[in-house]
Symmetry: C2
């Protein structure tokens, strides 16, 4: 872990970073600090987590945390960016290169499954948000934009006669995204099969159905 990115206990000099491990009060790089905070948010809920709770779980003082991030909300913002940037990258790539709305929808579901598995704690945090602050509301706004993209693609595909029109074009997009989002609640890497199988199962179920 690069020294210049380390979060250090506030009583440890910076040049101590590469020295022998400190007992109980580790230095953190930006990445590890973020990941520990997100775990704590997911365990106790963001609102119920204070900077004191974070400090206890990180094993560093509050002022050591404040040295690197300005607030609990700033940590939340970074964590949500992680999830949303990854999801938005999938959508942009697919919208630029996919051919036809059904193909785009398939690729979006496939790519979203992979982001959910790769960034599971960050997406979990995103999916449990209630939008009580500006940072949360901004994230929910970005999430809604992704949902609307899926709604538009379903509508286009129905208009072209490529998807059934006897199902609700309003519910179907939310149901397919709900199916993908459920992954954070039950998927256990290794125990629930590979991410390739998972993505295949989602895309097959949604578009071709489970019937043999």
């Amino acid at each position: 872990m690069p020294t210049e990115q380390q979060f250090l206990p506030d009583d440890a000099p910076a040049d101590d970073a590469a020295a022998a491990p400190r007992r109980g009060r580790p230095g953190y790089d930006r990445e590890t600090l973020l990941s520990v905070c997100v775990e704590v948010f997911n365990r106790y809920g963001y609102d119920a987590t204070s900077m004191g709770t974070l400090s206890r779980h990180l094993g560093i003082s509050k002022s050591a945390i404040y040295h690197h991030v300005e607030s609990k909300e700033a940590i939340l913002g970074q964590a949500l960016d992680r999830a949303l940037d990854a999801l938005e990258a999938v959508f942009s790539e697919v919208l630029a290169n996919g051919s036809g709305p059904v193909n785009k929808l398939e690729q979006i579901l496939d790519g979203s499954v992979r982001v959910l598995v790769a960034q599971m704690p960050y997406v979990t945090l995103l999916l449990r948000l209630r939008g009580n602050s500006e940072v949360e509301e901004a994230a929910l706004q970005r999430r809604r934009h992704l949902t609307h993209t899926v709604e538009d693609l379903v509508r286009q595909a129905q208009e072209r006669g490529e998807l059934r029109t006897d199902i609700s074009g309003k519910s179907a997009p939310r149901l397919m995204l709900g199916m993908v989002n459920s992954i954070v609640d039950w998927y256990q890497p290794g125990r629930s099969g590979t991410v390739d199988q998972l993505a295949d199962t989602v895309v097959t179920m949604v578009f071709a159905g489970l019937r043999a």
Copy 2:
């Protein structure tokens, strides 16, 4: 509302129940008390809700609540029973009368969608549980039993050649239940279409797929 079931402010005599409405501090029947508590649990999270919070939202004293339920956990237990009894009734009925595993799965998804919509706040509470207490663990155990029933039916249907075998028999049951469960996050009665359309869309998507 039947007088003998009313939850009264502890400073109001019982025989006042049928009298003119009291200003600001309503009497509650068991049903209304439960439903207000469940709304509060869903808003703040069960763990973060104290008897004091419930008392404030109900507009009655803590001792008035304790007059009718022995603890916060007892209220939770009643609320979770509401959701689980309804879901279990669907499963029992279908297992007794359905013909073949695919037909049973279709009926279970259809019936579960209807329970989710009809008992939305109770099912929402159930789905957000983390299992930190005996009551929660018992509810999660009952929920797991329902999941295993769906897994068994998918496996039977795959063995009979009625469902695809090129998808993961482990992921598919959880994905279809995840799709159904997502309903509590986005469905708005009236605005998102009827419950009949919703149940049809779920069953069609899962078994026949969306492709025209």
